[in-house]
């Protein structure tokens, strides 16, 4: 870690002129990047007539939480949040398990069919869910997953990105470790559970964060698989408003902010892990 810091420091002296300019630029970009969301949040506390009247003011003239009250009257947020959380947690646990197992196999065994399967998995990234909605729905229906939260969980748990991330990690683990464990008499399952899984904790954390993001923000599968409002998720609520013929902005703004809060909390808690995890090690070709 120390060498990297020195490294970056020296690199800076070579590549960029002055710390001041860089600092100013960094602040500027930070502001540009954060402004849209900040504006959205501020706007959500303005009454509707203020949203659509000039001149606009940065802060609400007439601060109100009416929009939020309305949103809570309109949607069963607690239930939606529970549903979304349930989907996210279950899907993430299964994804972690499946991806690490499959990634391990792809990295540490050499069979022709494994290579073939790897190519098959690659193909899955090519076909977006959205364009297979009709056939996918048929499958969900046939499996009896319709109108069940599992209908939005199971079709999403296999992810090429996850498998790939784990495979890349296991490739980097020396085979000697594996051989040594085999000589000690462990079977493959034991090696995986006791030796390999603990090693890839940080990769799993990265994948968990990815998975959280995907599932929390998913709306295609919930739209397909769920017909009962008691099973709806937060993104469906957002979609109900943003896909309306005449958009009710005051309600949409507050609902947007509400669906964003859990993501924000998770981000704040895991901020260090997210930002420090060397994502590139997983994605690097």
């Amino acid at each position: 870690m120390k060498s990297i810091a020195v490294n970056a420091n020296t690199l800076d002296k070579r590549v960029k002129p002055s710390v001041v300019v860089k600092t100013v630029l960094a602040i500027l970009f930070g502001l540009i990047w954060v402004f849209p969301v900040v504006w959205l949040i501020i706007s959500s506390f303005k009454p509707e007539r203020e949203l659509f009247s000039y001149p606009l003011t940065f802060l609400p003239k007439d601060f109100t939480i009416d929009n939020y009250v309305q949103a809570f009257e309109r949607f069963d947020f607690i239930r939606y949040t529970f549903n979304t959380t349930f989907i996210t947690i279950m899907a993430t646990i299964i994804t972690l398990l499946m991806s690490s197992m499959c990634g391990f196999a792809l990295a540490k065994y050499r069979y022709k069919w494994l290579n073939f399967f790897f190519m098959c998995l690659l193909a899955t990234t090519m076909l977006p869910t959205e364009i297979m909605m009709s056939p996918s729905f048929t499958v969900i229906l046939k499996l009896g997953l319709y109108n069940s939260l599992w209908g939005c969980i199971l079709p999403t748990v296999g992810t090429m990105t996850g498998v790939f991330l784990m495979r890349q990690f296991f490739v980097s683990i020396p085979n000697e470790l594996l051989e040594a464990a085999r000589i000690d008499g462990s079977n493959e399952g034991g090696i995986f559970m006791r030796i390999m899984l603990p090693l890839c904790r940080s990769q799993l954390a990265i994948l968990a964060i990815f998975s959280f993001r995907w599932r929390w923000n998913d709306y295609i599968w919930p739209l397909l698989a769920l017909g009962n409002p008691e099973k709806y998720t937060l993104q469906l609520a957002l979609r109900t408003l943003s896909g309306a013929e005449a958009v009710d902005w005051s309600l949409l703004l507050s609902t947007s902010v509400l669906t964003m809060i859990p993501v924000l909390i998770v981000f704040i808690i895991f901020n260090k892990q997210i930002m420090n995890s060397n994502v590139s090690s997983g994605v690097k070709g």
Binding site: V15, K22, A26, I27, F29, L40, L154, N217, M275, V279
Partner: protein
């Protein structure tokens, strides 16, 4: 000896199969199955309900003569060609700017740039629709205050196109930036030292050291960006709804519209298959080039 070895190999193969089993099952049920059904649909005039007659290649023939589909496809290609390089350079420049851990505000800025990547595509669409609102959006308001002409962000084809590019760059840049920061930190300092002694200026060392060192990472980023850009959907649907006219309608939205609003599931499936083949070709090229660059390393 050989026999024992063979035995353990077989055992390992069983384990390998076991490890992969959930994914294999998943692949068959949720990918292969729907894909085969989709291929079958593409040869029919299925309307999503009762009518389903086999019509052979008719859908594909029609697609190649469908001006709207061709237009939408070209829109998508244009979007990919423009948004991928912009996203790439934005990410690399931000990475160069923010790589230095010794500047205090860098870590905060990194967080701020990364944060939008956690938002859902619908949220991204909503956010920028709000910012770019033509009559009451904050951007046009500020332009007005500066006595500049407000921009018709959504009702004029070119600017609507750019709003989709801006929104996707904003939302996607953070991940790539982190990847590049990771890559930058792995470049040995000696290289820069040596270049400096040789009298190279900053641009030269960027071009001859930084960029080549980032090549494998860049490659990955660009390929993923291309595929993701082809697949853009919910964000643009929320932001411009494909308008004005069809100028920001990209392939996936076209497929969605054709399949569900117009209830031409068969036709939409055929369009999906064409899309699939195109993405397969791109990814094939990717893995080929990637394999070569791995060998070089």
């Amino acid at each position: 000896m050989t026999k024992v070895r063979r035995n353990s190999l077989d055992k390992n193969q069983k384990w390998a199969l076991l490890f992969c089993a959930p994914n294999i099952l998943f692949f068959i049920v949720f990918f292969l199955g729907p894909a085969i059904i989709g291929i079958y649909y593409s040869f029919t005039n299925y309307n999503g309900l009762f009518r389903m007659d086999f019509i052979g290649l008719q859908n594909y023939k029609d697609l190649f003569h469908d001006n709207e589909f061709i237009l939408v496809f070209l829109n998508t290609v244009k979007y990919v060609i423009v948004s991928v390089p912009i996203g790439y350079f934005a990410a690399i420049l931000l990475a160069l700017l923010l790589v230095d851990d010794n500047i205090k505000c860098n870590s905060l800025t990194r967080v701020l740039v990364y944060w939008p990547t956690l938002l859902s595509t619908i949220m991204v669409g909503i956010t920028w629709k709000w910012i770019f609102g033509e009559s009451f959006g904050v951007v046009n308001y500020l332009l007005g205050e500066l006595n500049l002409t407000p921009v018709k962000w959504f009702s004029e084809a070119t600017s609507a196109f750019w709003t989709t590019v801006v929104a996707s760059t904003w939302a996607g840049c953070g991940v790539n930036m982190l990847i590049f920061i990771g890559g930058l930190k792995q470049i040995p300092v000696d290289l820069y030292e040596a270049a400096r002694i040789d009298g190279a200026n900053r641009v030269q060392s960027f071009l001859h050291i930084t960029l080549p060192a980032l090549k494998p990472v860049s490659f990955m980023v660009i390929m993923l960006s291309i595929i993701n850009s082809f697949k853009v959907f919910a964000m643009v649907q929320t932001l411009t709804n494909g308008g004005p006219g069809t100028s920001t309608t990209y392939v996936i939205q076209y497929i969605y519209k054709t399949g569900f609003d117009k209830m031409k599931v068969g036709y939409a499936s055929a369009a999906s298959m064409i899309m699939f083949i195109i993405l397969m070709v791109i990814s094939f090229i990717q893995t080929r080039i990637n394999a070569r660059s791995e060998k070089e390393m």
